[in-house]
């Protein structure tokens, strides 16, 4: 799963959000590292909706403009949980390996 998709699912694991809310929260969660453009965001929302990982929660009209709110589905929650576990496991492996690693090849840590 690519990082923007993972983060989109992660921000929706909370109250439902509209498009701009997702963009803003992804930037916050990633500490400004990932900034979704509208094109990327809606491509991801379309795909995730088609795969049943997110769903439209409700629509609102604010100042005559349409706002659509998205929420995580049960299936989306399961996929996100699975992906998070995989990333955590990978991260733990890397941290463990790094603990026993030295930048000088051939030398074992004391």
């Amino acid at each position: 799963m690519r990082e923007p998709t993972f983060l989109t699912l992660a921000v929706l694991a909370g109250p439902p959000l509209h498009g701009y809310g997702v963009m803003r929260q992804v930037a916050v969660l990633s500490e400004g590292r990932v900034k979704l453009s509208a094109g990327t965001l809606y491509a991801a929302l379309d795909r995730l909706t088609a795969e049943g990982l997110i769903a439209i929660d409700r629509e609102e009209a604010v100042d005559g403009r349409v706002r659509r709110y998205y929420r995580l589905t049960e299936q989306g929650g399961a996929v996100l949980r699975q992906e998070a576990a995989r990333l955590r496991s990978n991260a733990e492996v890397a941290v463990t390996r790094l603990a026993g690693w030295t930048s000088r090849p051939g030398l074992l840590p004391s």
Binding site: H18, Y20, M23, S37, A38, G39, L41, Y42, A43, A50
Partner: protein, 348 residues
């Protein structure tokens, strides 16, 4: 803070950029995307940023090309290949229409004089078309038009001789080629072996083939010396343009069908897939043969004279190609018909 109309103008500019997305998508998502863009834009912004322009333009184009899942990708590749070869062949056909007329009988005779058996004179025969079914065949023309042919031939001016078989045919053919080469013609390296010896040379847009037509009786064999055209310069550029245009058009059509059938009923989706698959399968033999000719056109070291559309003229492949084209058009028409959801929306 800008006037409210400035915000409306920005919204209008965003909507214009969304024109790269398909209409159905704009209807479903357009207002929402514009809302998101306006939410993200500072209040004093009057124009979309360069990044937004690039994002929306490329996003719309990407959307039109987007398919997902193994079946979608395989379908799009097949459709792109079939359409690329068909339009490449059409490009080749149009390129061949720029071919020069065949030489007059006198000019043809002058050209091939070194190849003719010494002391002979002959009246040439002419096939003045560019490519067509062999006119010597007795079948009615509709048989070729419907059923195809394995005798699709290039136009030519040709001389036929009978020759005593006191010398091997190979020796006569090689002697003719040597004399033509001495007169400044280049060997074409074509494989004319077949049943009987043959050779070819080319120069200035003309191809001269000398080949034995086999034994006519116990003491004679036939020899043919023919002048035909080499591939005109416009053929490869037009073929290449056709290949690219066809690949893009085929992929776009497949992506469009793919998007539409996502919203169809399962019955209609299955029907569309079956019709489209029949179309692609029926077009496969003609496409495969034309691919071989196309590859030869690009990579042969001599000027090839086979037309890229040969596959669509070939016996049995031609009626299959008709069937495939009809199925493809039928599949597109079924896809274009409004589904129940769209009908309800139109009625509403």
């Amino acid at each position: 803070m800008p006037e409210p109309s400035a915000r409306a103008r920005l919204a209008r500019r965003y909507r214009r950029l969304l024109l790269t997305y398909p209409r159905s998508y704009r209807r479903r998502r357009g207002a929402e995307i514009v809302t998101t863009l306006l939410d993200a834009a500072p209040v004093d912004r009057a124009w979309p940023t360069r990044a937004e322009v690039v994002d929306l333009l490329t996003g719309g184009l990407r959307f039109r090309f987007r398919v997902w899942g193994a079946a979608g990708i395989v379908g799009a590749i097949c459709a792109a290949t079939v359409a690329a070869v068909a339009l490449g062949a059409l490009g080749g056909y149009l390129g061949w229409q720029t071919a020069q007329p065949l030489p007059s009988n006198a000019d043809a005779l002058r050209m091939v004089e070194p190849a003719l058996p010494p002391g002979t004179s002959a009246e040439p025969q002419r096939w003045d078309f560019i490519f067509d079914n062999n006119p010597e065949l007795a079948d009615p023309r509709w048989v070729y038009l419907i059923g195809g042919t394995d005798e699709y031939r290039a136009g030519k001016v040709f001389f036929q001789f009978t020759y005593p078989n006191d010398r091997p045919g190979r020796q006569v053919v090689d002697g003719a080629q040597q004399r033509m080469r001495a007169a400044g013609w280049r060997p074409a390296g074509m494989d004319l072996s077949g049943c009987c010896p043959g050779s070819a040379v080319y120069r200035d847009g003309w191809l001269v083939e000398v080949f034995s037509e086999g034994y006519l009786d116990e003491s004679h064999y036939g020899l043919q010396v023919a002048v035909s055209r080499t591939m005109p310069a416009a053929v490869l550029p037009l073929t290449t343009a056709g290949l690219f245009a066809g690949a893009v058009a085929g992929w776009l059509m497949a992506a469009w069908v793919f998007r539409r059938i996502q919203e169809s009923t399962p019955m209609r989706r299955a029907f569309t897939v079956v019709v489209a698959s029949v179309g692609l399968l029926a077009l496969f033999p003609a496409t495969a043969l034309s691919v071989l000719v196309l590859v030869a056109s690009y990579f042969a070291s001599y000027p090839p004279a086979e037309p890229a559309w040969l596959g669509y003229t070939f016996m049995l492949f031609r009626p299959l190609a008709y069937l495939g084209a009809a199925a493809a058009v039928g599949g597109l028409m079924i896809t274009a018909m409004p589904g129940p959801r769209r009908r309800r929306r139109l009625a509403g």
